[in-house]
Amino acid sequence: MKKFINHADDFLEQSLSGLQSAHPELLQVHKDPFFVTRKNINPHKVQIISGGGSGHEPLHTGFIGHGMLDIACPGHIFTSPTPDQMIAAIDYCQPKNGVLMIVKNYSGDVMNFEMASEMIDTKNATILTNDDAAVINSSYTEGKRGVAGTLIVEKVVGSLAESGASLEECQQFGLHANNLCSSIGVALTSCTIPAAGKPTFDIENDQIEFGVGIHGEPGRRREAIREANLIVSDMVEAIFQDFRERDVKIGGNSEFLVVVNGFGATPLSELYLIFNSVTNILNEKQLNIGRSLVGNFTTALDMAGASVTLCLLDDAIRKHWDSSVYTPSLRWGI
């Protein structure tokens, strides 16, 4: 394992310190316990809090700021944050109109946020994001995982909250957006957790993991690498399958927000190539791309691979996606 690191133990702290010094005008990093808030807190708006294991940067700390998150609680690498982090953060922000927790659907995250939710006095509500089409929802799973669609939810709910909407309105809108998102990822290589020091999984030189999770969890199948167009075609198919199963209606005029997200070690040029494949496939189906985002937004440390997310656009989602945002890693209109 080769990384820019001093000791595995202080990695998170030092990385957060760097985030702080790079964005002093935007955010404030707090330590012991770790949480990150906006530099200028507005306790009168619904506070949007997210968090989860670290290693997915810029998710979530890189999305703090006007039009998106108020608080992020980073856990250790790939490990959910603990309730005391959420409690301390909420205590610091003193929300007057409630707290909305945006939580990726992983047992750890769910349980830790749940315990925080039970332990605070502030009115709160939760959105569990579960856009990963890879793991099929059935009586044998506890539901799908939350992946790159989460940032779409954070963006559009963040925008709505900025406009002064209530906790219930924000929660409803977030659930609605989450429902219209579907994602699937493919890994070419494993990631390596600094504290573990070795790759999370072994993968042959000519194999890919189709449907991989953002922690390097196994997906649907291990298969031989093929031309990008063929891989992407399977990815888009899996997403449409998911939409069909969940009765999300796609019609001739459907317009999508397409996110091509790198897992960390995949060059931007390859992400654009993937985006090109997606464009061609959607064009063939006579579906439209209304908005797009290509880059590393929900990563898995140094994993090579990428995910595709489609979010069906309606007027509200389009409007709140387009609204101005000013965070370390998403910025427009300001």
């Binding site: 790939f78 750890g108 315990m115 999370t200």
Partner: protein, 214 residues
Amino acid sequence: MLIRMSNPISFSSFISPTLQAISIHENEIESLDRAIGDGDHFINLKRGVTAIQSITHELDSLPNSQQAKSIGMKLLSSVGGASGPLFASFFLEFSKHYNDENSTLENFCQAFTEGVDAIKRRGKSDVGEKTMLDVLVPVAELIKLASLNKLDIIELSQQVITKSIECAESTKSMLPTKGRSTGLGDRAIGHMDPGAKSCQVIICEICNQIISRG
């Protein structure tokens, strides 16, 4: 966590041996979670036990029920992941039911069972789902039976060791339905659940301590 009825051993005396025991199994636990999870279970656990170890002195002066509560809170704020709130829920619930004044095997057994039930509630899960519960639930049942039969504590400890090893082993053939390995489906078969393994290691160590302390 098994204690002698007459002269209760302070829970805190098990902390260092526990840390040693899990450290011995570092590779095994870590590679199990790498195989069917995200690879961090050992690190999470070690962070938790180390955090508890750092407050051993404080714990020493507390009655066992209060120790369990402090241990629960420490685990809650140090472990994270799925196992953190689960382990924490166990100890927090245990502490509510443990009676320092009347530390009988019956009472211990009831507190233990309540703790395990808290895990079930928090995890919305039960036996057969390839989790730590596949060790904890059978062990709870075994000691309940033993407390009814008034079994000797040494004898019981030996039975618990056998049971927990057998139960951890049994998770190999199970299909996961809770936690991160659910995505694996069939591919998880053949791998023991990391949480089941770590619970087994801790339980065995405590039993061995009880046996060797006589």
